[in-house]
């Protein structure tokens, strides 16, 4: 459980890709996502996955992205099985399942390399309403807190004799109720405290709040943008019309 919890916690890593402007990272992620959508054969899937793993390697997140893809493997297997059942050839079903992994991998690149603070700046750049942006940032900020709360409640209930590993899937789900209820109550109380703290720090005082950080693409950002477009556009053309 602790291992899963760790997967949700963002870690600051110093890598050339991490240091890029979040809009450039988003562009690269969208490009890889588009490429993953366009693949239709095994060589194309291999090219798309290579691109994803190359960026993950530069970003030093190879292990973390592998963990994300391991979770996703379960759904990929389901997709593969359904495609086989509905009569797709084995290779096509395999390509569709792996394409799903590539799609997840391409989006993970952005979320694993962009801290929520930068994500907030990007959302603001897209002129999303302040309240929505703040709700999103707060939700992401409290994921590790709630995960740790869940683990603590789990340990407390286990020490009182609750057995989570026994029984079939339904009884196991029922056994999670004593964990979910205190967790929800705790989250509700926490939201009250958060609201008070927000008010006490002048949330909503002005219509357009300013920001400590400002987005700046920089030279390397421009180079990365040009390089990614130069590589991805011909590849997309190749996937669509030639391969």
């Amino acid at each position: 459980m602790q291992w899963i919890a760790q997967g949700f916690i963002f870690r600051r890593i110093t890598s050339p890709f991490h240091q890029l402007d979040p809009r450039v990272k988003l562009l690269v992620s969208i490009e890889l996502f588009t490429l993953s959508l366009l693949v239709g054969s095994l060589p194309e899937v291999i090219i798309a996955l290579s691109g994803i793993f190359a960026i993950a390697s530069i970003s030093k997140i190879l292990r973390r992205i592998s963990r994300t893809l391991t979770y996703t493997l379960f759904f990929a297997i389901i997709i593969f099985s359904i495609n086989i059942l509905v009569g797709y050839p084995l290779m096509d079903a395999f390509v569709i399942a792996v394409r799903f992994l590539a799609i997840v991998g391409s989006t993970s690149i952005f979320f694993l390399t962009t801290p929520p603070d930068e994500l907030e700046l990007v959302m603001k750049w897209f002129r999303l309403p302040r309240d929505i942006v703040f709700a999103f940032v707060t939700a992401v900020r409290f994921v590790p807190v709630l995960m740790m709360d869940a683990l603590q409640i789990m340990d407390a209930q286990k020490s009182r004799g609750l057995e989570l590993q026994k029984g079939n899937i339904f009884s196991r789900f029922r056994r999670f109720i004593p964990i979910l209820i205190p967790l929800i109550v705790d989250a509700v109380l926490r939201s009250g405290d958060l609201a008070e703290a927000m008010e006490a720090r002048a949330y909503g005082a002005v219509k357009k709040p300013t920001s400590l950080y400002q987005l700046e693409i920089g030279v390397w950002g421009k180079v990365a943008t040009i390089l990614s477009i130069t590589l991805i556009v011909p590849l997309a053309y190749l996937f669509l019309f030639l391969m």
Partner: protein, 304 residues
């Protein structure tokens, strides 16, 4: 220099300098304030009359449920703006009625550090969180940078600026929460049980910071604290509450002579208790000591 900067800042924000106000130099005043939460028959605070001058450090003590938090929330406007209920009387901050001023406007003057620091750190990096209040006020980027750096330096948390909240200890979180509030340069600082999650060493460190803020910046500080030992030496005044009322209000030495304190659930400091026991045996001790040093001086005098 810093105090001058603060007063300039408040004038910039449109606040009237103290001497021009008709509040008799008081920064906080309660006039017969009674408040009860919605659907509650019993008032949380009753007939509170309080006058607080700038620069005081006030320790608020009392058993759980005695109205301490309600009193504090009445100062920063969470009551009645966020918790509408039945209220009478008046609370004024710097001459302005809390009931008629918005919370965001009060937030410019009153900084509030809540009990659990985890629930008041919103952003994903320390630096960004310290800037949160200033961003909300719509200050220019350069001004935010200046005030954030100032608060970070004041709290000595330069090494933490890029850390995420989940990478901080409770003591570090408390410092970050305090920095976030101080960056807004409030004239009043309210701390609700700031040491409740801290180990004794970190708690002492926090007390030293609080003293520094009061002495160097002239900020009026109100602290709710159960561990009187920690803050008794720093406080200029103690307010003891019970069942929504102020029972004792005065200088620490005067309030600590009250024999009713343990009966209403206020744990008196060990040094004071020792002084009482010794005084019962041989009533020759001088003033009530507020620190171990003072007690030692008293004892030396007796032994001579």
């Amino acid at each position: 220099m810093e105090c001058e900067y603060i007063s300039t800042l408040h004038i910039e924000r449109g606040m009237v300098p103290e001497e021009r106000k008709s509040n008799n130099g008081l920064i906080i005043s309660f006039e017969d304030r009674t408040y009860s939460y919605l659907n509650c028959k019993e008032p949380a605070i009753q007939n509170i009359n309080l006058a607080i001058s700038p620069g005081e450090i006030i320790l608020i003590a009392g058993p759980s449920g005695c109205g301490k938090s309600t009193l504090l929330r009445s100062i920063n406007g969470l009551i009645p703006h966020m918790y509408p209920g039945n209220s009478s009387g008046k609370v004024s901050i710097d001459g302005s009625s809390v009931d008629e001023t918005s919370i965001t406007e009060i937030a410019k003057k009153v900084g509030f550090v809540f009990q659990n620091p985890e629930n008041q750190i919103f952003m994903f990096s320390v630096e960004r969180d310290v800037a949160f209040g200033l961003e909300n006020l719509g200050l220019y980027h350069e001004k935010i940078r200046e005030q954030v750096d100032w608060a970070i330096q004041l709290l000595n948390i330069e090494k933490l600026v890029n850390r995420a909240p989940h990478e901080l200890s409770d003591g570090q979180k408390q410092k970050v929460a305090l920095a976030g509030v101080l960056a807004m340069k409030p004239r009043i600082l309210i701390l609700d049980e700031p040491t409740s999650l801290l180990d004794p060493f970190t708690a002492l460190e926090l007390v030293e910071i609080i003293k520094k803020i009061n002495q160097n910046l002239g900020v009026t500080i109100l602290i709710v604290e159960h561990r009187l030992d920690l803050l008794i030496n720093a406080a200029t005044r103690i307010i003891c509450m019970s069942k929504g009322k102020i029972l004792f209000d005065g200088e620490p030495r005067k309030v600590l002579t009250e024999k009713k304190l343990p009966r209403i659930g206020i744990g008196i400091p060990t040094i004071t208790r020792l002084h009482r026991i010794l005084n019962e045996e041989k009533p020759v001790f001088g003033k009530i000591p507020l620190s171990a040093d003072e007690l030692a001086t008293n004892l030396k005098l007796i032994l001579k």
